[in-house]
């Protein structure tokens, strides 16, 4: 758990380091500056977390069935 926390901390440092760069090609800067890209990230993360939990639950149920034998 500690390692995950450290990873998350490092991640947030990286994110702030990379934020904001002047660009010529049209990018979704407006969306990012208004902060709404975070909504998308949150949704994608929720979906993937859900799928991961689902996979883990299948794994656990299988383990139970395998033990019965």
């Amino acid at each position: 758990m500690k390692k995950i926390l450290v990873l998350a901390l490092l991640l947030s440092v990286c994110i702030t380091a990379f934020a904001g760069q002047s660009q010529q090609v049209e990018m979704a800067d407006a969306m990012r500056s208004s902060g709404k890209i975070y909504v998308v990230i949150a949704i994608v993360v929720i979906i993937f977390t859900g799928l991961a939990i689902y996979l883990f639950s299948i794994d656990r149920r299988l383990k139970k069935i395998e033990k019965e034998k």
Partner: protein, 224 residues
């Protein structure tokens, strides 16, 4: 085989993918015409293919192992790896088509890469058909193992080699720069390579789950 019953690598894969989901949207990317923000698709489209290659490779290894030893379990691993690989194949094709729509102009522009990917997909559909058409268990395992060993290099040639020899819109083909020096930098690599590993692990995980289910079914059939 104990590996597939362990938990640590599954947690690792999930954590890395969560990282790529966040970093993939927030980290800086090269600014390129036409591609714009869709360059971030690299983090999600390409790993589907890496995942597919991983499970297909494992399946070939176990097909060979089956032919060597005749162990039924190896055949079950091979078939479930192909099933999982086909799933990621479909994801790769669909995400590629959607990406193509907004960068090449059309979902399907009969690009060599797309066409040969479609043909290679049919190869693996034929594998499923072949398997289901044989009732006798040992015969089915043997024939499908041999088919699988031949299908794999053909798939590699179709997807990786042939498109490179002609003009293709897909990066890395026909004089088109790959995601190499020109359009990729280290900011992307710190997300892309972990994504490759993590999605490959997820594919192995799903394949292992399917194998364990199939193993239970197999044992049950054996008893009755």
């Amino acid at each position: 085989m104990k590996f597939i019953y362990q938990t640590w690598w599954k947690v690792l894969a999930v954590v890395i993918i969560l990282y790529t989901l966040i970093a993939g949207f927030l980290f800086g990317v090269p600014t390129l015409p036409i591609l714009h923000e869709t360059i971030r698709n690299t983090y999600f489209h390409v790993p589907m293919w890496i995942a597919m290659f991983t499970v297909f490779t494992i399946s070939v290894i176990y097909s060979i192992a089956y032919l060597n030893t005749g162990k039924e379990e190896y055949d079950l691993i091979a078939v479930e790896c192909v099933n999982t690989g086909t799933f990621f194949y479909v994801l790769g094709l669909i995400t590629g088509m959607l990406w193509a729509k907004y960068t090449w102009g059309e979902f399907w522009s009969n690009d060599p890469k797309q066409n040969s990917a479609a043909i290679a997909f049919l190869l693996y559909c034929a594998y499923a058909v072949l398997r289901n058409s044989i009732d006798e268990e040992q015969k089915r395992a043997k024939i499908s193992a041999i088919y699988n060993i031949f299908a794999f290099p053909i798939m590699i040639v179709l997807i990786m080699i042939l498109p490179r020899m002609t003009d293709s819109l897909h990066p890395g083909n026909g004089g088109n720069p790959a995601f190499g020096k020109l359009d990729m930098d280290n900011r992307m690599r710190v997300v892309l390579y972990p994504a490759f590993i993590a999605w490959a692990l997820i594919a192995v995980w799903i394949a292992s789950l399917r194998y364990r289910i199939r193993l239970i079914e197999y044992k049950r059939n054996e008893i009755s």
